[in-house]
């Protein structure tokens, strides 16, 4: 974007929009203890309490909080991370449309690790191997192709992969601009340009 000189790669912090969105993805849970007066959270049930045995999809942040200490709920992995999909990903990692499958695949996957129980090791391996398998083609398309191809490619990437892809695109464009001997030209600030465009479209 602007004149940023320090571009670290994605590293979640308390304030990360990405991380907040990823932890909002749903996880299938079953209540192992009764939660008094919270029946209203279950849209299908009509009782005052959330009874033991109630099955409910909870956002990941809540599932983790309830599963961790007092085991108020037990969790299942969302279907993208279960065996059937794991097999598909293993067989053809590079081709899968990860964005459709789970837009925050790697981030959600990492948050699910503590909930995965004995499947944790397999899940961990799946995350690392899937990214490793897909990196080559992400690199090649982001650093090489025309804008059209790049657009198609980008639509099948998860959020984290997209940020890598855009990083590569930026380098590609920077080098093209440099080769055309125009990189040194001082340009209008990005925000000023955007602002003027908006103003212009409002006027006309």
């Amino acid at each position: 974007m602007s004149a940023a000189l320090h571009y670290p790669s994605y590293y979640p912090s308390y304030f990360s929009i990405e991380d907040i969105l990823a932890t909002n993805e749903k996880v299938p849970c079953k209540f192992e203890k009764t939660a008094c007066d919270l029946g209203f959270l279950d849209p299908s049930g009509g009782s005052k309490d959330l009874e033991v045995g109630t099955k409910l999809e909870l956002p990941c942040w809540l599932a983790r909080a309830l599963a961790s200490r007092r085991q108020i709920v037990s969790c299942q992995l969302p279907k993208t991370f279960r065996e059937r999909y794991r097999e598909i990903l293993k067989a053809d990692a590079a081709l899968v449309d990860l964005h459709t499958l789970s837009p925050h695949f790697y981030e959600l996957g990492q948050h699910l690790l503590p909930l995965a129980g004995p499947e944790g090791t397999t899940l961990g391996l799946l995350l690392v191997e899937t990214l490793r398998e897909r990196l080559r083609s992400i690199m090649d398309t982001s650093l090489n192709t025309t804008e059209d191809d790049a657009g198609t490619r980008q639509s099948k990437l998860d959020q984290l992969e997209r940020s890598l892809f855009l990083t590569g695109r930026k380098t590609f464009r920077d080098h093209q601009l440099w080769l055309s001997r125009r990189a040194h030209i001082v340009t209008t600030s990005y925000m000023v340009t955007q602002h003027n465009k908006r103003k212009f479209s409002e006027v006309s």
Partner: protein
């Protein structure tokens, strides 16, 4: 689900990337704060019961507490990410923001912007011994002392260097020292042609 309102704030920022700043959403913030106070009061009540030996209230207390933390995180992340964008604007627009952008800031954000401005200015002034260094200039490695520029809008008379003025009229071209006209290029008054 709990904390859904708070997430709306985050989604709003996620939708308006590209450094844009949507209007400060005081309405949702108030609703989130209300939800937090309700959750807190319910927990106060149940904690009282639990202290009296009713351990069956623990799961609900725990759940509400998680929601309270989540709400707090979303609220602070909302404020933080907005400030990051406002901070970037100082470097892009300069110390005075366009009116329509200013309108999207709430009063405390405007105050924060002014404080940021002041802090930055006094830092830049403190550099070296002869009046400091303007870090918003020199954004690209220099090539030539003089550049050819085209005027994108009427700007009027402008002093290039001491005692040396030009009239910047739309569509006129000039040959000017880059160091002097850098900020006019960044602000979209001039365009460097080559």
């Amino acid at each position: 689900m709990l904390s859904e309102k708070a997430l709306e704030l985050i989604k709003e920022l996620d939708r308006s990337k590209d450094g844009k700043l949507p209007a400060f959403n005081e309405d949702i913030i108030r609703k989130v704060l209300e939800e937090m106070n309700t959750l807190f009061q319910q927990n106060q009540r149940d904690v009282g019961e639990a202290a009296a030996g009713e351990i069956r209230y623990f799961p609900s207390i725990h759940l509400r507490h998680a929601a309270l933390d989540r709400n707090k995180r979303c609220l602070l992340a909302y404020l933080y990410n907005r400030l990051e964008r406002i901070r970037a604007m100082r470097w892009e627009f300069g110390s005075i923001l366009p009116a329509d952008i200013r309108a999207n800031l709430c009063e405390p954000e405007t105050q924060w912007f002014n404080r940021y401005n002041k802090n930055l200015a006094s830092y830049m002034r403190s550099l070296g011994e002869a009046g400091g260094l303007d870090l918003t200039q020199d954004t690209k490695p220099p090539k030539n002392l003089y550049v050819e520029v085209r005027c994108l809008r009427d700007y009027g008379e402008w002093e290039v260097e001491e005692g040396d003025t030009v009239v910047l009229q739309k569509d006129t071209t000039h040959y000017l020292p880059l160091a002097a006209c850098h900020h006019l290029i960044r602000q979209g008054v001039l365009e460097q042609v080559e």
